[in-house]
Symmetry: C2
Subunit: 687 residues, 2 copies
Amino acid sequence: MSSFNESDTKAVATIRTLAADVVAKANSGHPGAPMGMAPVAHVLFSRFMRFNSKNPKWINRDRFVLSNGHACALQYIMLHLAGYKVTLDDLKAFRQIDSITPGHPEVGVTDGIEVTTGPLGQGISNAVGLAIGQAHMGAVFNKDGFPLIDNYTYAFLGDGCLQEGVASEACSLAGHLKLANLIAIYDDNRITIDGDTAVSFTEDVEMRFKSYGWNILHVEHGDDDLAAIESAIAEAKKSTDAPTIINLKTTIGFGSLKAGGHDVHGAPLKKDDIAQLKKKFGFNPDETFAIPQETSDLYAAVAEKGAKAEAEWKDLFKSYSEKYPKEASELERRVAGRLPDGWEKALPTYTTADAAVGSRKLSETTITKLAEVLPELVGGSADLTGSNLTRWKGAEDFQHPSTGLGSYAGRYFRFGVREHGMTAICNGLAAYGGLIPFGATFLNFVSYAAGAVRLSALSHLRVLQVATHDSIGLGEDGPTHQPVETAAWLRALPNLAFWRPADGNETSASYLVSIMSQHTPSVLAFSRQNLPQLAGSSIEKAARGGYVVEDVENPDVVLVSTGSEVTLCAQAIDQLKAKNIKARLVSLPCFEVFNTQSADYKLSVLPSGPPILSVEAYSTFGWGAYSHDHFGLKAWGSSGPYDQVYAKFDLTPEGIAKRAEKVVAFYKKRGQPLFSPLISALDDISE
Amino acid sequence: MSSFNESDTKAVATIRTLAADVVAKANSGHPGAPMGMAPVAHVLFSRFMRFNSKNPKWINRDRFVLSNGHACALQYIMLHLAGYKVTLDDLKAFRQIDSITPGHPEVGVTDGIEVTTGPLGQGISNAVGLAIGQAHMGAVFNKDGFPLIDNYTYAFLGDGCLQEGVASEACSLAGHLKLANLIAIYDDNRITIDGDTAVSFTEDVEMRFKSYGWNILHVEHGDDDLAAIESAIAEAKKSTDAPTIINLKTTIGFGSLKAGGHDVHGAPLKKDDIAQLKKKFGFNPDETFAIPQETSDLYAAVAEKGAKAEAEWKDLFKSYSEKYPKEASELERRVAGRLPDGWEKALPTYTTADAAVGSRKLSETTITKLAEVLPELVGGSADLTGSNLTRWKGAEDFQHPSTGLGSYAGRYFRFGVREHGMTAICNGLAAYGGLIPFGATFLNFVSYAAGAVRLSALSHLRVLQVATHDSIGLGEDGPTHQPVETAAWLRALPNLAFWRPADGNETSASYLVSIMSQHTPSVLAFSRQNLPQLAGSSIEKAARGGYVVEDVENPDVVLVSTGSEVTLCAQAIDQLKAKNIKARLVSLPCFEVFNTQSADYKLSVLPSGPPILSVEAYSTFGWGAYSHDHFGLKAWGSSGPYDQVYAKFDLTPEGIAKRAEKVVAFYKKRGQPLFSPLISALDDISE
């Protein structure tokens, strides 16, 4: 490699002064880390990163993740220099409404951003997913002489990311999986928002990562020793059986009068500070957003090199297509995100003649069928495989081949007891492309992954979560494991579908819609206890999110329910008949999908007139949008055999019938037909 | 210490056979870990643990935490043997409805259970909090010759706990804080639910804990080497500046035919397996729940020793009371959980003459006042001190004195970027006694701590969370940091109060009620942006959870809102007047507290008649219980100056007035007075 020269020094200074300008113009943001990490960003982007800025979706590009996402001024500057669709005007619109340079990087908003970061610990965990994505896709598609998929994943991260538990989980797993294609660069600047890391973060980071099985490298003078940075990255790329972390000592806000202190972390530099900074680096203090010609030229050459790399790859792919036409078209299909024709025919259908089984078992059947027709379906469990029932027959584990436990072509993941890491890794897998990832745990422990779940939704990533043991119906494990509030949280999340199927057809519908929703994550809640097959269900009906299961003319009451309680309601309705109370039964397996139906359809399911009573073994919070009265749990669950737990809370056909009767009498006495709760002035919904 | 003899072997065998019996009788549960950890449990309880089983609340007792809570058959057995209020019948009611021996240990349900465990990683993190509690209380109350508070905290944990990020966070901080009073015993049995730990957990645990600054010990033959276990614990107690982890190699399900495999983890042993186990250990295979007399005698002596220890402590406390009467009565007050007389007078009140400031600033003022009158108030931030504004003037940091950064008497915590660990530690602090802990982060990142937040609530622990930057009003940081769904989740949690004060008086009310709620955690959401003081607010009114801020005769519409949007609604109402639309303004700072008011009061605030429109910069999910139409966010927020972000979503006085007008016209056209959404047949609420 050629040595570094004045042009490189100038480029680094340009990045630093631009960072100061970008944050100052916005009068908001974080100049410290961008100024401290300018040297490593320059070395990485100019010497190592393989990318074509004119085609940011090239599948074999290197992935870059800024896990310390608050430093995104740096990332936007690098994207601008490297020729991505990020203009100087975009840099000037940093942190302004509807700009493509928001306060933290968002995938889908800005070309070249691979994953949404900022919430600390997520980026490095996504990077583990991106690295698994490469390892898996490479193992599936590469052939002798055709290294089609061999990119690296680079991640920058700071002290904050290292302190977050999600990063510990993902990095421990990355070490176990021996992901040599993952190179993390730790900005060791010894400063956090509360001041010196001495106040709270004094662990030995290098020893910790060694304990995870990582390769450890070290750069002492990260502020200016470009050659040492280059050597470290080059060394890291030689690793064959371990991810690498490079401990890079830097000075936060390098060049500022306040360099090395926490004042430069999250506030713009003062005007005179920027002026002295520019002077010191040989820039005109009166000029803003200056990019010297030699820096533009340097990065133009970088961009050209990248375009050439993709062109060469296209040639390689052409030869591959000739020799392996089936694999080539399969790779094209998967990268384009097209599902195989007729895949949905694999979804099982059921009649009342089919056995009553737990919906987790129905889910297992569905996964097994889908795994055959969707090779892009990959996933696993956070150490609950035998309970979640997520491992299909004939699945191979994703493991480093040296373990003898599987291979990188394996599609089943052993995530360990690491729910948050699992979901963040799934986000990375979905972002890699060509994959539909799922994770699995008990519904209650999806909450452990809340930080990553919201980013699945915000990032528009198709990530599935198989969430079994979905209620007090899990029985003996008790309230520590029984979700009460979880459904409300997931239903309140924008762009996330929470499904709670009542039987086999609804289970198939939940997978159908989840897999077809290319830009929406889904959480699929399944029961431990057995559920009979409903007479009135079908995949088509359930795929609308809500439908009438059982109807009657002029109902006195409408019962609306989800999951395991739908059957209890059906039994309650039988009891009500004896009292001459007529009831309609509605199943609402997915609020999010039901909400997208036409007003007419929705009102046909939940019309004005009779009172609507919801029944669900959860907090009733949120049911006000669908029902007038709500029967659910007022507090936590209980430990005991599941049928006794249901009985304790009166969630039985008798308990439901009794309440339905009370509701009918109550509103009859009030003597007025009720408006459907769906009616809304603001949403223009009315009969 | 005396050597171990036949009685000890017999006691260990008794624990093992009892564990098999307890789980078999329940036909549900986890026999593997109890049988594997029987030796260490016996050594710890018979030789080290200081406790008086007749007074499980003695403040200077050693704390025992079973972080691998699924092994609770072991804990219940130990409590029974040691003379706590856990009878043989209770053991026989394991995992049955309303028993005191539920599927996972629950504090408050069973004497001798210190914290609720089972959700993995929580217990060890609580243990860090319990250890901090001792260190702090000791530093505050101990005097020369009066080591009143010098207990140890012992925690058992398994592979699962070690994989969870929350444990990484808490253990890293424990190392930083040099908590020598914390002794963790790692049940290294190499088995998880998915099989051998080789499938997902191959990190070097000892090296990892060394990197955190822990003291590392090792017992190779944990199945039978009682002397080595004793030596290790004795050695651990000698540590002066580091927590200790003892790596104890055991065999899961020791004694079972399936010992060492994952089949014994979570399912009862077969009948013939239990028979051979009992035979092997010299027990009658036809007898269940057998406790040999010598084992009863051994533990009777242990209990007696414990009672004597407390008696001696009481003598010590008596002398202390004579020499330090003020400190003694203060310790008694705090341990009893009594608040100082008149503390609430410290709460600031406001009029409209007071400046508009961010409610995070109002919170800072309140904390500063309360810190003076409530010495039991301790807390800190997850590395956002300068943003959360949680550090009061004159606060000292809780740090090991050797750091020169504070002392163990310090009441301010630097939690690091560890939200989940912080909250779990706060749970431990609250469980220790004599303390009212708070944590702080952005509201959005309370979600990172979801696993611990639900346990605050389930465990009835008074833990406060200061959650600033509570909406899109945080502005430039953008949607990655803007909570939309968080309030819905917290409101759906049983036994948790989510507060979102609109001004200074409401802020004071939120602290008033949170601190007086001895058995309920609270999350207090505060704004970054400035809020004017309302004319119609008072501490007393806001303390009811909801109240009328501004009224008018025969309103055409009721606007109900929270936090920063209340003022926007007041301004909208001014605009509506010009259009001859009369509106009532209701503030609802806390749903949970409002829900506990009388039906009459609630209906007086939100009556039948006019339409009710809610306004809140969150997902509208859940508002159906209080309003007919809901104005909020349909999706994620946006990055930009906060007023522009509000404007983007039309959350302005104009936008609100426009919608109110629409709502009035819509329902007028329908021509029917509306039922209050509070009306409920099941809750018997009606006018």
